[in-house]
Symmetry: C2
Subunit: 151 residues, 2 copies
């Protein structure tokens, strides 16, 4: 009977361990990823910036038509980086990871700087929500990216 | 040895079965929930409308300051329903549920109708993303609600 209990405990551990996720660690990883992404975007490097989106990512913003897929997003990024005085940055404020650790979301505050035709700086303040899926290799990619202007 | 295998199979089943989620069924439930919510909002009934948000829900829109918590959202709903000609409706287009079935998101297209001071109707078209958490009783509640105007 003692042996049976030992087998029970061992097998329970072995059979379920694959789904054990350190949600706190994954959440910290995502907060860090959001900060790194903001830094990458600030450099104006298209390849570094688009690397965070999944192939099937969608992006919604008041600044452009809904974008479906990484190729459409890449084109928007290229065009944005050519706008005079364009600079985007953001700060994550909260992250939530699901129990199985394959889906998460981050709340962010974003700032976009532009220069108007007279050279005058314009600041746009956005609230943003990004949704992430964990990939087969354990990395996280952004699948939904939506931002809305603060009134 | 045969008995041990039987014990292994049984215990593996018992120990992991609790995490088995019918993602497809939960996704269909959420699409239905989004449609029901839109119908509830169309009636102008505040209580029915706010019932879909979790107590800690946040809401971001270009139409108002960021809202934290159901009480702030309820106040915005009450004020919106008093706007002349106000009517909101939306259609869900896509749902994704995480493996453990405790987090999901829906992509939606929303329309807001208003009447300006001269009585002329105004239509605002929004893209919206709603994030949902499954509660202890199995019901889903909205925790993040963000919409952005289509340009």
């Amino acid at each position: 009977m003692k042996n049976l209990m030992a087998v029970f405990i061992l097998l329970t551990f072995l059979s379920c361990n694959h789904s054990t996720i350190d949600k706190k660690a994954e959440g910290e990883k995502l907060m860090q990823l959001s900060k790194e992404w903001s830094q990458a975007a600030a450099t104006g490097d298209v390849e570094k910036t688009v690397a965070y989106w999944a192939e099937n990512a969608v992006m919604f913003s008041a600044a452009h038509e809904p974008l479906n897929g990484k190729q459409a997003i890449r084109q928007m990024v290229e065009e944005s980086f050519k706008i005079p005085g364009f600079k985007i940055s953001w700060q994550p404020s909260q992250v939530e990871v699901c129990e199985s650790g394959d889906m998460a979301y981050i709340l962010e505050d974003a700032q976009i700087l532009l220069t108007d035709s007279s050279g005058k700086p314009i600041v746009i303040n956005n609230k943003a929500v990004t949704i992430w899926r964990r990939q087969a290799d354990g990395s996280w990619k952004n699948v939904v990216d939506i931002s809305t202007p603060k009134p």
